[in-house]
Amino acid sequence: MRKHVAMGAAVAASALLLAGCSSPAAETPEESTGSAGEIVIWTDAEREAAITAAAEEFEAETGATVTLVQKNFEDLRNDFIAQVPTGEGPDITVGAHDWLGALVTAGVVDTIDLGERAADFEQVAIDAMTYEGQLYALPYSLETIALLQNTALVGDEAPATWDDMIASGLAAGTERPFVINTNGESGDGYTMYGLQTSFGAPVFVQDDSGSYTTEVGMGGAQGEAFAQWLAENGTAGTGYLSTTVDYDINNELFNSGQAPYTIQGPWAISAFPDVDVAVNPIPSAGGETAAPFVGVQGFFLSSQSDNALLATDFLVNHLATDDAQRALYEADPRIPALTVLADEVASDPIIAGFLASAQGGVPMPSIPEMGSVWDFWNAAEAQIINGADPVTTWNQMITDLEAALAG
């Protein structure tokens, strides 16, 4: 009997508590009409401030709430793929264009329609965010690497070829004529890619429309010539390329004036406070134009968003405006994807240099197969620089890579 009383009391108390908890929550929407809409945006630390600015204006106009969740940029892709299907993901995330293949095959991104506004963005940015004919993101910045030179040692004139650059570097009388990051023993195909393309050996073959196919393009005589060149300049050769150089050592050597030339991206500029830097396109080592990878960053829309209309409205009508794009640029200066803005900021010679390099570059492949390339590619380059036989190592890498892609 008493047990029943106790049970009843427990139920009554829970009900009271529940009612206490839920009633204020139920009242809120009635008080402020039209504020139920909420969009969640994943961002990294650099972009948070700028998005906040655009979000405030959006909140004022529509009465919606914009919640920003800050994450590490490197974690965004996998978290997005893992969480969108469970319904826990955001409505919008910041991301890089080369994630597209993975995002599309995972079915987690929605297309977006920029309408006539698309023409206001750099063509390479729109192309990069397009996958199989569909635009999947609002692009906002470009990034690429370029040749950085110490103007005090070698002036600001761009060397036309690799040999010119080495000659001028040697003439400067520094410890090394040139230094490039190989990410230590891991190898760094990304930084080396401009030099590789100057031999005519792209990572994947592009079709007529410029889209990447899954056919590996690094093999054959051109690829072997590049491998040969790596070996000639590796540890057993001239030693200009060395696996002892990682990101920090590279920047230290350049900043201390021990090397007048390096190949780096805009993100490393802040590591060179002691050097007057000039930015130029990467010189050709193999005769053809050196085309580095161009990365495009932008905003992706979740395919499982509960507030798709609201999220699209925010992206297309608020984040794509000149003012919002300018705020993003000011929060984290990268080459803008919006042409007007790019022209505006090109008065800065450093930005102009990277912009010029980007215009000669190629978008980094966004097909999912690219994810399999890095390990093999980087390792083979590191081995060849360390003195492994160039041609057999390179061809073995191509064989292994093709096997991995087929499997």
């Binding site: 106790a6 829970s14 508590l17 987690v108 023993e185």
Partner: protein, 535 residues
């Protein structure tokens, strides 16, 4: 726990009640208990409702079961021991058993990139990817209109307003008025204010999914809106047939059927980008052992994992013990200071030390070659053998202080009279060490050695930070390297770093590692019981 609990179990006659002060049922203790239970119930019901809303059935059922058990245990009189065990058991269930169970579940699926969601989501993604804006189509200012329960679009085209819904294609709406290029009044329809649409997720979903045909001919495409303020003409060639579970492409004539591997595949072998995850049985386990690209490097990695874990424990235990014995000798001066210095590497975060050593071992710029090898060009991290040696060396440096600490403590706890008796019996230092000190020491340290083995078996930090698994095997299509241990290999194979992930395979490998460590630990602990018999 409370007054009520302490009450005798007899069903006493009501008449005796006033005589027994302890039987006042609703004392303070009961009220506190009631409040706490109410709180637990409130939280539980909130979780259940949230799970119901997001359709997370496993969580829903688990929370209902847990909540019922909690109420039953704390309100019933009989389950006294459970009242104390239940909180611990719930945490065990949530944090250990669930994680294990989930890893086990993933190991039997093909969850990974390209197979990340459910079939329903894959269909949705395919339809999204197949629907394209008609080339050259204009963008029309648009308003969302409603007639009863029917939603429609009103667009402004050449100054006139056209209106339509899912059921009827666009037609001229006479007498409509515009404000700022947007329809504000459409006869026969109610124009929904923008704020009302944007604040209602359900309505938003209906609007996003609404397609209004441009004309009677479906080839002309249909109007859809992406942001609720403008619309354009889209057309899709893909259509989903739920009965047949196929997606057909009207342009190419291909019919993509769902296969049992979680893909939509057409007759000619082409398949749609997005797939879903399906159970694949033991495929992942079989692959780990039979895939030629994987099996050979994984075998090498496994051997090195054992070598790494065993050598690390032996070397650091040996060095720690040696120093412990030396610095335990009363003849050594400033013992306290020296002991403190020895413990320093242990106090340093391991990943920092690994990064530091990575720099010091650099063949050109590192201090190791400069100071100790006369500037020789020894490629510590680039040579397969030297890299293994470097990993062992750095791990020795990191972990011997731990053993120094443990052994010092154990040595000081050794019975002095036994050692004295041995000395009197004429045993030399080596004999005393071998026959008395070491066996007694092992009784207390062997379980720690097993724990240390298990830890190093999975010591991801040092491998990842020091060598990154490199140098890579000269030829393999796995991307593994000579210093990779199983856990770093699993990380590599899971593909989290590269972008093409295979969580199913990675989970299967984790389970294998879990079993290996479990079996070794069980066997080893059985062995240590023999040591205790020595006492």
């Amino acid at each position: 726990m409370t007054v009520q609990l302490d009450a005798p179990r007899t069903t006493a006659p009501i008449a005796r009640r006033p005589l027994e002060p302890r039987r006042r049922g609703f004392g303070w203790g009961f009220i506190v208990k009631l409040a706490l239970l109410a709180l637990v119930n409130a939280v539980g019901i909130t979780v259940i409702l949230a799970a119901w809303r997001t359709e997370a059935w496993v969580i829903l059922i688990a929370s209902i079961v847990l909540l019922v058990i909690v109420d039953a245990v704390y309100l019933a009189k009989r389950a006294l021991p459970l009242k104390y065990l239940l909180p611990g058991l719930s945490f065990l269930l949530i944090f250990q058993i669930f994680t294990l169970g989930y890893t086990g579940y993933v190991a039997f699926t093909n969850y990974g990139s390209g197979h990340a969601g459910s079939m329903e989501q894959a269909v949705e993604a395919a339809l999204i990817q197949g629907e394209q804006r008609v080339e050259g189509a204009a963008t029309y200012p648009l308003a969302i209109v409603q007639r009863g329960d029917e939603l429609g679009f009103a667009i402004v085209d050449d100054g006139g307003v056209r209106v339509g819904s899912e059921l009827e294609p666009l037609s001229e709406a006479g007498g409509a008025s515009l404000d700022d290029d947007r329809p504000v009044d459409v006869p026969g329809w109610e124009v929904l204010p923008r704020a009302a649409v944007l604040s209602d997720p359900e309505l938003q979903e209906r609007v996003v999914n609404l397609r209004v045909a441009v004309s009677d001919d479906p080839e002309d495409g249909s109007i859809r809106t992406r942001d609720g303020t403008s619309g354009s003409i889209y057309s899709s060639t893909l259509s989903w047939d739920e009965q047949a579970m196929t997606i057909s492409d009207s342009e190419t004539g291909l019919v993509y059927a769902a296969d049992d591997r979680g893909n939509f595949v057409a007759q000619d072998g082409s398949r749609l980008a997005a797939g879903w995850y399906v159970p694949v049985g033991f495929d992942n386990f079989v692959r780990a052992f039979t895939d030629t690209a994987l099996a050979a490097p994984l075998f090498e990695v496994t051997l090195w994992t054992f070598a790494f874990a065993i050598l690390t424990v032996l070397s650091s235990f040996g060095l720690g013990l040696l120093f412990a014995i030396i610095y335990n000798d009363p003849r050594v001066r400033a013992r306290k200071l020296l002991r403190t210095l020895f413990i320093l590497p242990y106090a340093f975060p391991a990943f920092m030390s690994a990064l530091l050593w990575r720099g010091m071992l650099n063949s050109e710029f590192g201090v190791i070659n400069d100071l100790f090898f006369f500037g020789a060009d020894i490629n510590w991290l680039g040579d397969p053998f030297l890299a293994k040696f470097a990993v062992l060396w750095v791990n020795l440096w990191l972990s011997f202080p731990y053993w120094f600490l443990v052994c010092t403590g154990a040595l000081q706890a050794l019975p002095g009279e036994t050692l004295e008796a041995a000395t009197i019996d004429g045993a030399g230092p080596w004999r005393r060490f071998r026959s008395i000190i070491l066996p007694l020491l092992l009784v207390s340290t062997a379980p720690l050695a097993i724990a240390s083995f298990a830890f190093n078996f999975n010591n991801f930090t040092i491998i990842y930070m020091l060598t990154g698994g490199g140098p890579a095997f000269p030829s393999s299509s796995s991307g593994l390297g000579s210093t990779d241990i199983l856990i770093s290999a699993i990380y590599q194979i899971s593909g989290v770093a590269g972008g093409t992930a295979d969580y199913g395979l990675a989970s299967a490998l984790s389970i294998i590692v879990f079993i290996v460590i479990g079996v070794i630990s069980a066997l080893a602990f059985r062995q240590t019981r023999k040591l205790e018999e020595y006492q």
